[in-house]
Symmetry: C2
Subunit: 321 residues, 2 copies
């Protein structure tokens, strides 16, 4: 949850006046998004999210994120649409932070994904990948191998405080992935962080995808691997092949996967596990003083990593091929 920056009513009034969204009727800081401050605002013309970009998001990246949302929304993806101010720009400033107003999406996150949610996620991810194909901007993935190596170097000395032998596991996995990471799979815009708290449902139907602030250009199948990690494991750490099967089938009902993509799923899934294991480990070992966000347990991703390490054939993910 997050409201890192408090805003005054005077700041808010001045900010809102720069948009053609009517009179401000309410504004509530909301517990959503872990990187930015988010306010749910209501005006005489509707409901919106006001996001203040905090220091973990690079200002230079914001046009990519905002333009991407506009591009995807224009193609019918249920993602927030940045609202432009009277000056025609989506990026403004409040309380000395870059800030944007985006449309509000209805729906509720699921805290316990079921197979039908996974089917929807697979389909939505493929639609997103397809809609992103002609997005003209590009952004490198800031959370890939070089960053993993940096996080490892920063935290290796303390990693064993979290789990005995963890530093070795991380070092060996980094070496393995460095040698085997695929380079020539289909690329495009990926969401990069499509966890259950970034997906809304109304009833059983997916109603929205949010939080595009890790979006970048990378291997499309890596985004699937992230979702396999995020959606297809049970709270006790067990892999749920039914969920994976529906997720992959949902995806493939929209976009077919190449043999190379299918064959690389296990290694991509290892990479995705390592990515979240490392970032969580870093947040765990380096808690921000006064942070509102509770650090998540890194070891959930050690369990996932070990599962993927044991897979030699992608059929273990429920692929019917």
């Amino acid at each position: 949850m997050a409201v890192y920056t408090e805003i005054t009513d005077a700041q808010l009034a001045a900010f809102i006046a720069a948009y053609e969204i009517g009179e401000l009727l309410s504004c509530k800081g909301i517990a959503e998004g872990s990187e930015n401050s988010n306010y749910l605002i209501r005006t005489s013309s509707g409901q919106f999210i006001l996001t203040l970009y905090e220091k973990r998001v690079l200002r230079a990246d914001l046009p990519y994120f905002l333009d991407l949302m506009e591009h995807l929304a224009g193609k019918g993806i249920a993602c927030p649409l940045p609202v432009k101010g009277r000056d025609g720009r989506a990026l403004h400033e409040i309380a000395r932070r870059p800030a944007a107003v985006i449309t509000f999406l209805e729906g509720v996150c699921t805290s316990r994904p079921l197979p039908h949610h996974c089917a929807e996620i697979g389909k939505a991810l493929a639609l997103l990948h397809r809609a992103g194909l002609d997005f003209p901007k590009s952004r490198e993935n800031s959370q890939s191998l070089p960053e993993w190596r940096r996080l490892y170097a920063t935290n290796r000395q303390n990693a064993d405080k979290v789990a005995k032998g963890l530093a070795d596991v991380l070092g060996q996995e980094l070496n393995f992935l460095g040698e085997h990471w695929p380079a020539d799979l289909p690329c495009g815009v990926i969401h990069g962080d499509l966890f259950p708290d970034n997906v809304f449902f109304i009833g059983e139907k997916l109603s929205g995808l949010i939080d595009f602030y890790f979006a970048c250009n990378d291997l499309l199948a890596y985004d699937i691997a992230i979702c396999l990690n995020a959606w297809c494991f049970e709270p006790d750490g067990a892999f749920n092949i039914t969920k994976a099967r529906t997720l992959l089938a949902g995806y493939r009902s929209v976009r077919s996967l190449t043999d190379a993509e299918l064959g690389h799923l296990p290694i991509l899934a290892r990479g995705a596990s390592l990515r979240f294991l490392l970032t969580r480990l870093h947040d765990w070992l380096n808690p921000v003083k006064g942070a509102i966000v509770k650090a998540k347990d890194p070891l959930e991703y050690l369990t996932r990593l070990r599962f993927h390490q044991g897979i030699s054939n992608p059929s273990a993910y429920g692929l019917s091929k």
Copy 2:
């Protein structure tokens, strides 16, 4: 800000089904209220606040608070109206907490009260006092002299860590108030915590009063004294007599104050200062582990207390008599 209890979508769906408020469309934990967990929910029939009562609110007191809101709303006070479930009851349960759905009020809190806000507050407070006169239930003020003595006893040994000599100031003030606290002023329902973050405005007009969880039966003029403390001091600690004048004039435009009430304003204001000084001191010295709420500076209220101690004639509050 506060979301102390996370709720799952399944818990939420079951909870909402007990009400006739339509299909759930969204639910956001909001940074509002420091004692309870609050969610802003949207259903096909409108917008509501779902409050989960955490341990600082006594379950036995909840019927008083909920019935009071219903009573006041019925008299036209702009306060939340508890929504009754299909079973006719306003008090339900979610995630093992007592919980209620109340109507959503539009408006924005002011972070920098101006005299026109204070005029509105004075008027709204008097209207609330008038509307509460025939409320049949009664609740003792849990934040009065006996509680102040208890807080003093708990924290006197560490008080000087916050400010040198503070323990003595507190002890002497408690003795003074114990001897001089008035007993025979007009009584009724008081809000007890009408700070700027519990009051909404749309433009210059007051649109809502919230957070009735300190409401109780006590001296009506003590509620005014709380508002003088909460609304009429500048960030630098200076008393703003213009704000006090408009607040009192606003109040008296609805309900006249007796000579005894006017004459006791300085001592009531001292009591109100001491009340918040002591509770803030306690929260400061006894931080809850993992608390999301940042403890507020107790010394703001030492400054206010000293101001009121220096007042012998209530005309210093801008009373025109």
